[in-house]
């Protein structure tokens, strides 16, 4: 959005925003994809992990801006700024924070993503950070006290853990299968090899 974003970044941000939208379309992939347990959080996790914290957050923001502008891009075909007055508003805004946290942890220290760090990122950023905004807002909107709201949001936990596992697997596989998709250089941990390796 600022002048520092080159054409490739612009395209990648748009593509990930579109990816999150597509994961909410009916008939995309079975098993997931109902409201409010939605595959879209998987898209958020992938955006943070692949694009990194800032571009990942930007792509989530773009999606939410389009939702606010009235496109029916949330699971179940919901859209309009009313979404941001509803009980799930905090979760939706939490996606932005989630993408930032995931990106920061996955790429911490400019090192190549490894399984444990990626899994940690998905739990901390993709679950805890999102709930940290989602639950208070839900409680505020529905006037159900915080504790009870937190208790009722436990229904999301099994699905979110499955999505975190899938995201971890996909991201760590991408490191092996298509490293240039990350579009960054990684520091190589072993000092005797050259300091900069892999991916462009």
């Amino acid at each position: 959005m600022t002048r520092t974003l080159d054409a490739t970044d612009l395209a990648r941000v748009a593509v990930f925003a579109a990816l999150i939208a597509v994961l909410g379309l009916p008939g995309s992939f079975p098993v997931f994809g109902g409201v409010p347990i939605t595959a879209q959080t998987l898209g958020v996790m992938l955006a943070g992990a692949v694009l990194g914290p800032w571009l990942g957050a930007l792509s989530v923001t773009v999606l939410l801006a389009l939702v606010a502008a009235g496109l029916p891009l949330l699971a179940g075909g919901r859209g309009g700024f009313g979404v941001f007055l509803g009980p799930t508003a905090g979760y939706a805004v939490g996606w932005i924070l989630g993408a930032v946290v995931i990106g920061l942890i996955v790429h911490a220290g400019g090192r190549r993503p490894v399984v444990w760090r990626t899994a940690l990122a998905m739990i901390v950023g993709g679950v805890i950070a999102i709930y940290a905004l989602g639950i208070p807002v839900q409680s505020l909107v529905t006037r159900l006290p915080l504790g009870e709201t937190a208790l009722s949001s436990l229904v999301f936990v099994p699905g979110d853990l499955v999505k975190a596992a899938v995201a971890t697997l996909v991201v760590t596989t991408l490191v092996r299968a298509y490293p240039r998709g990350f579009r960054r250089m990684w520091r190589v941990a072993t000092p005797e090899r050259d300091r900069v390796g892999v991916a462009a």
Binding site: T173, R176, A177, Y178
Partner: protein, 228 residues
């Protein structure tokens, strides 16, 4: 035996009738599907492969009705697309081929043996442990063929499998598809020289069959229509 037989086949996608009243009885082993962009070739291929349900009419593929017995059909039919990236599901070459054998529940040793044999047949031996997305475009498409053929399909449906390949790779892929290894072939292509290598051909126009018969006659007719 008849490979594909249909009568009054209709397919509606969204608000649009994409295939209208297609009637065919194809028994040649290799069948080319040609026609302009948007004429309905891919749609027909996907209906035959059991990936899309028809809206009306009658269809038999290798003697069975895709809508009544999708599992039986899927066990016998394989599909190859032009975009290799969409067809590669696993990180390494060997894992990707093995994925096709998952539903067969073979013992591990036999599965590995079949994977190795398939890789060798398509000239990919020695690449089993390589990341699949590191392969060149031509190699990726050979890998997709490998994943399709390892299940021993009786019918292979290929939708523009050579569109993105160079002459050498295109010929290699076409040779594998056309070779008689006990399978029939339905091949969608814009490459008319390749279409001529099939025994018979179907010319699609605007969601209908415009001509069908021996490939040389059908392709000649199409080619002369193209140049005037």
């Amino acid at each position: 035996m008849s490979i594909v037989r249909c009568a009054g086949l209709r397919v509606r996608l969204g608000a649009r009738e994409v295939l209208g009243e297609v009637s065919l009885d194809l028994s040649a082993r290799t069948i080319a599907l040609v026609g302009d962009n948007g004429s309905g070739k891919s749609t027909l291929a996907r209906v035959i492969a059991g990936l899309l349900r028809r809206t009306g009419g009658d269809l038999r593929v290798m003697g069975c009705d895709p809508d009544c017995d999708p599992a039986a059909l899927r066990a016998r039919v394989a599909l190859v697309l032009s975009n290799p990236d969409a067809q590669i599901m696993m990180p390494t070459v060997a894992e990707d081929v093995a994925l096709s054998l998952r539903s067969a529940r073979l013992p591990r040793a036999e599965r590995d043996a079949r994977v190795d044999a398939a890789l060798a047949r398509f000239g990919l031996d020695g690449l089993g442990d390589r990341p699949a997305h590191d392969l060149s475009g031509g190699q990726k498409q050979l890998l997709a063929l490998c994943g399709a053929f390892v299940r021993g399909p009786r019918l292979v449906i290929a939708d523009e499998p050579t569109a993105l390949l160079d002459g050498r790779n295109a010929r290699r892929v076409a040779d594998h598809l056309l070779a008689d290894t006990g399978h029939a072939l339905v091949l969608v292509t814009h490459d008319l020289a390749l279409a001529r290598r099939c025994e018979s051909a179907v010319l699609m126009a605007d969601g209908r069959v415009a001509a069908s018969g021996a490939s040389s006659a059908v392709v000649d007719a199409y080619e002369s229509a193209l140049t005037c």
